[in-house]
Amino acid sequence: MPDRFDTLARPISLSVDSLHLSRGDRRLIEGLSLELGPGDALWLTGPNGIGKTTLLLALAGLLRPDAGSVDWMIADHRVRPENAVAYAAHQGPERNGLKLGEELAFWQTLYRDRKVLQARLESVGLSGRADTPVAGLSAGQRRRLSLARLMASNRGAWLMDEPLAGLDTEGRARVTHVLSDHLSNGGLAVIASHQPVPIDGVTAHKLVLEPGS
């Protein structure tokens, strides 16, 4: 599959070492260490405000840790987070003034995605919606758009913040399918979610963030 990142030949891994994170003056994560390799999924869960999104931001290189380190490696070479990671935030980067097709095509151009727009829309169940204004998308449709953006990124590691929020049964099944496909191709995923995200063939490592842990 030439349009896919070559993760089997260039395995991706993440190593987090005694990470300390805070938001404002609140200490959220203290001394977290973990290792993930190709095909691994990590499910982050825990009460609201415990630091799940904060941890994702740090993994994406969008938040400077107070102490400790986040290292992304591709084929044993240390790479910058932006070269390894695609981050699907809780709320997407989409702008209301654009149409769905324009929005996704823009990210495809930036990521140099080789698949055509229609194929991407179809794979998340949004085919025929290219002309719908972003402002008119439902929460679930925005999640689907976010999933399509992840697929278009061709990055080895996916960081997903609440990927199932607002999705119907069919949408959740698509997330499972796409994610399983990604992992079986040697991808890596960190998923912050209150509900378990079913994945075929792989059991996600579970990390429960708790107060004082």
Binding site: L62, P93, E94, R95, G97
Partner: protein, 217 residues
Amino acid sequence: MMRAILLRDLRLAARGASGTGLSLAFMALFVLLCGLALGGSQPALGPGLLWLAATLSALLGLDRFYQPDQETGALAQMHHAGASETAIATAKCLSFALTAIIPLILAAPFLALLLGMDGPSITGTVLSLIVGAPALTAYASVTGALLAGQRSGGVLAVILTAPLLIPVLIFGTEAANVFAADGLATVQFRILAGLSFIAVALGLPATVAALAANRGA
């Protein structure tokens, strides 16, 4: 990559996201009110008033420079997708110049007629605005990037940018005033062009640094 960002911005602007109409309306209103307050048409004050009007209207659009893309996280995502901050800043500046500055310059001659200005004076004002446009854009970009993370940057933006724009305003007005007598080859025009170069040379790296800081890097 830069082209994609520019096209996206122009598309958004065409659908009203850049507030071009609002800036134009503000500029027209400002000139009209000046005319009323100063008691009828004031051709001698014309270039200065038009420069002031253009500058303030440009500043009005500042909070739409980077802020919407900062708030939605699009700037960080663009960086993740491989767009350098330089490419982002350049594309945004081009889009700002096209959608916020050039319409103001195009409107200036019509407003100049309201002020009773004559032909050479109007030409001088428009030319000086064109030469000064890069400076307006570059300083607006710096302030826009610095305040992108703030919730209400509007007035703060004007206060921060005003000192940077004072030399541009002085020489812009002067260049327009001396154009009728001396043409383009005046010291004033040269200094204005120099100020524009300095603004771009300083503004672009400063914007890039501000964007990187906003991203959390």
